[in-house]
């Protein structure tokens, strides 16, 4: 059976709302409009306006209200139409949500999920294309998840809603309409994925490629191409950016001795930079080649399609970096 990421997210919210009356959804256009990207389609009819709450366009205000409701003990799911707009509310996320449990000596927990599309879509230019994974992942008190497939979307969103701490849930607009196969297990309403565990999407021997969200698909395509050249790439779908699954990343690098990180965000202080540091700290002596970072270009996202294509990672960039890491920039006979 196949399911789109959109339906996976919708069913996850639906099931958690059915299971726990404290769970409610709020944000711009989540109700009558059925979601700017239709992720919340049908939920207003099913749960009513108290639990599927349309807000005015006031991110700082409604994010603060969501966090306050979480202080009280409710479990809000706050949708940002895109994470770009969460910048209007980042103070409430960082200062009010992430730090309260610590500042209060454990008295005020904040069981809230902030979710919505993150990163580049297509043709929406600089102010609507930023990836915030590295920003949020640098803050203690937050958990940061970023799903790729429908299985990820279901299992991780359900885990995020059930989690007692604030979770940033970074979706991708382009993936909403993509279909992925889902097993009966994944469709079970008890299905849940652990926070902090990466997923090895494809096993390999010669080079480790880490990615999250849409870039997992690109990495898998790169692995196909690399296999034709005799390079066996291991693809790690990070799933969780914070906590970061250091064990899985290091174990893989100790096996392949080579690492390529892929992300759509900016290179400086990015997720790839952090993964590189993690590997240098724990597996330095296993590395046979410099770590390669594939990231978005260090520029605000341009609008023109040719420039935009240059600004975001492409499959061929990943292939090229992996070959460099394997000292195989020039095609040569396969060596196992």
């Amino acid at each position: 059976e196949k399911m789109t990421v959109r339906d996976a997210l919708n069913s996850a919210i639906d099931e958690e709302m059915a299971a726990d009356p404290k769970v409610f959804l709020m944000g711009e256009e989540v109700g009558e409009y059925q979601g700017a990207y239709k992720v919340s389609r049908g939920l207003l009819d099913k749960y009513g306006p108290e639990r599927v709450r349309d807000t005015p366009i006031t991110e700082a205000g409604f994010t603060g209200i969501g966090v306050g409701a979480a202080y009280y003990g409710l479990k809000p799911v706050v949708e940002f139409m895109t994470f770009n707009f969460s910048m209007q509310a980042i103070d409430q996320i960082i200062n009010s949500a992430a730090k309260s449990n610590y500042m209060s000596g454990g008295q005020i927990s904040v069981p809230i999920v902030f979710r919505g599309p993150n990163g580049a879509a297509a043709g929406v230019a600089a102010q609507h294309s930023h990836c915030y994974a590295a920003w949020y992942a640098s803050c203690p008190g937050l958990k940061v998840l970023s799903p790729y497939s429908s299985e990820d979307a279901r299992g991780m969103l359900k885990a995020a809603i059930r989690d007692p701490d604030p979770v940033i849930f970074l979706e991708n607009e382009i993936l909403y309409g993509e279909s992925f196969p889902v097993s009966a297990d994944v469709l079970d309403s008890n299905f849940c994925l652990p926070i902090g565990k990466a997923m090895i999407e494809r096993e390999g021997k010669h080079v480790t490629i880490t990615a999250f969200s849409k870039m997992v698909g690109y990495a898998l395509k790169a692995a196909e191409i690399l296999s034709k050249d005799g390079i066996s790439a291991e693809i790690i779908n990070l799933r969780s950016i914070r906590p970061l699954d250091r064990d899985t990343i290091n174990a893989s690098v100790r096996k392949t001795n080579r690492l390529v990180t892929v992300e759509e965000g900016f290179p400086q202080h990015g997720v790839g930079a952090e993964i590189c540091a993690v590997v240098v700290e724990e597996s330095f002596e296993y590395l046979d080649a410099p770590v390669e970072r594939i990231a978005g270009a260090d520029v605000p996202m341009p609008y023109a399609p040719n420039l935009e294509r240059l600004a975001v990672p492409q499959v061929e960039d990943i292939v090229r970096a992996a070959k460099r890491a394997c000292y195989r920039s020039v095609p040569m006979a396969a060596a196992a």
Partner: protein
């Protein structure tokens, strides 16, 4: 005990609402408790000033002396199931919610017996068991948070309300208007309490606000201007507001009050206002002296009895400080505790 009626110092001024009566019912017992609690708060803040100067309190420390009538008047009108959230001038709100002196002083001195285990400090006092949600350091951010707590109360069908406190400085923050708009759209049981002490740090209200009539600034939301130096007026207004918001949604209470200390410990509080202004308020509007006069004029206690209460309070504060000084700092293991509800473990947090 005999119920007595006392007139408020000045009439209430209303915005889009009929004002409550100036005649406030009280009892000798209540007046004595106001006197005692406000004296305790005042003494605690004066002691905190000394501890700060002795370098036993670090960082930022904002004192509440002068504004005590707001804290005690509000508590007299509500229950511990109603919620309160405030900014960083939070020591006395914590005491009003039933917090103990030893917890307050321990927190101020970064000791493990502190109300936030020594991890919050002066600006981050909490008492969740009595619905006190802090203790917030970002000016104005607590306002949407308080409206969210009220959303939780309404969602859970509790007949309780939230008092969201902020100063005249925060009254100009955009998120106040965002949160108020939603609270009004959704009829949330929230009272926005503007403690107008007339200076946002060192900026006089008229230099920061085109209209310093904060009780009117909710536009479509009703408001009431209250003498925040009169505990009975505060009580009357809070009781009135609680009933109102449970039926009709949000309301603003502007408490006309005054802080004797500077904004924080680094501010002597004299460059932007005159010493005459401060001493004038002390002589004419001091909230403790107002209650003292009422007690004496109604012959509830003698002047000496009230002096004895003040001595007791001073002893209580001194004892709590001595105890807090003996209390150890938090254990090192606390560094990585409470970041998450269930710890992810040091391994996930530090290499």
């Amino acid at each position: 005990q005999a119920v007595m009626t006392v007139e408020t110092s000045v009439p209430f001024t209303g915005h889009r609402i009929d004002t409550p009566s100036r005649s406030v019912e009280t009892t000798p017992k209540e007046l004595l408790s106001f006197f005692r609690e406000m004296s305790l708060m005042r003494r605690m803040e004066i002691a905190a000033d000394s501890l700060y100067k002795a370098k036993l309190i670090r960082g930022f420390c904002h004192l509440y002396d002068g504004q005590e009538a707001v804290a005690v008047g509000m508590e007299a009108a509500i229950t511990k199931k109603d919620a309160i959230i405030t900014a960083y001038r939070d020591h006395c709100i914590f005491l009003g919610r039933g917090g103990k002196l030893i917890e307050a002083f321990s927190e101020l001195m970064g000791r493990r017996a502190g109300c936030s285990k020594g991890k919050g400090g002066s600006m981050h006092f909490y008492r969740r068991e009595a619905e006190f949600y802090g203790g917030h350091g970002i000016v104005g951010a607590q306002i949407p948070l308080g409206c969210g707590i009220a959303l939780g109360q309404k969602y859970s069908k509790e007949e309780t309300v939230t008092f969201t406190m902020y100063g005249d400085g925060a009254a100009n923050q955009g998120q106040l208007f965002e949160a108020l708009n939603m609270s009004a759209l959704w009829d949330l049981p929230v009272i926005l309490v503007c403690e107008n002490n007339h200076y946002g740090m060192g900026t006089a209200e008229w230099r920061a606000a085109k209209s310093p009539a904060y009780y009117k600034r909710g536009d479509y939301v009703p408001g009431l201007k209250v003498d925040g130096m009169d505990a009975l007026a505060v009580k009357q207004a809070c009781k009135f507001a609680k009933e109102h918001v449970l039926k009709n949604g949000p309301m603003i209470l502007e408490m006309d009050t005054y802080r004797y200390h500077g904004h924080s410990m680094s501010d002597p509080g004299s460059s932007y206002r005159t010493r005459d202004e401060i001493s004038g308020i002390r002589q004419e509007r001091d909230p403790i002296e107002r209650i003292r006069k009422l007690i004496l004029s109604h012959e509830i206690s003698t002047a000496n009895e009230l002096k004895d209460i003040e001595k007791e309070v001073r002893k209580e504060v001194d004892a709590a400080i001595a105890q807090a000084k003996e209390c150890p700092m938090p254990d090192s293991s606390e560094l990585f505790a409470n970041i998450y509800v269930k710890g992810l473990g040091v391994k996930d947090q530090a290499p």
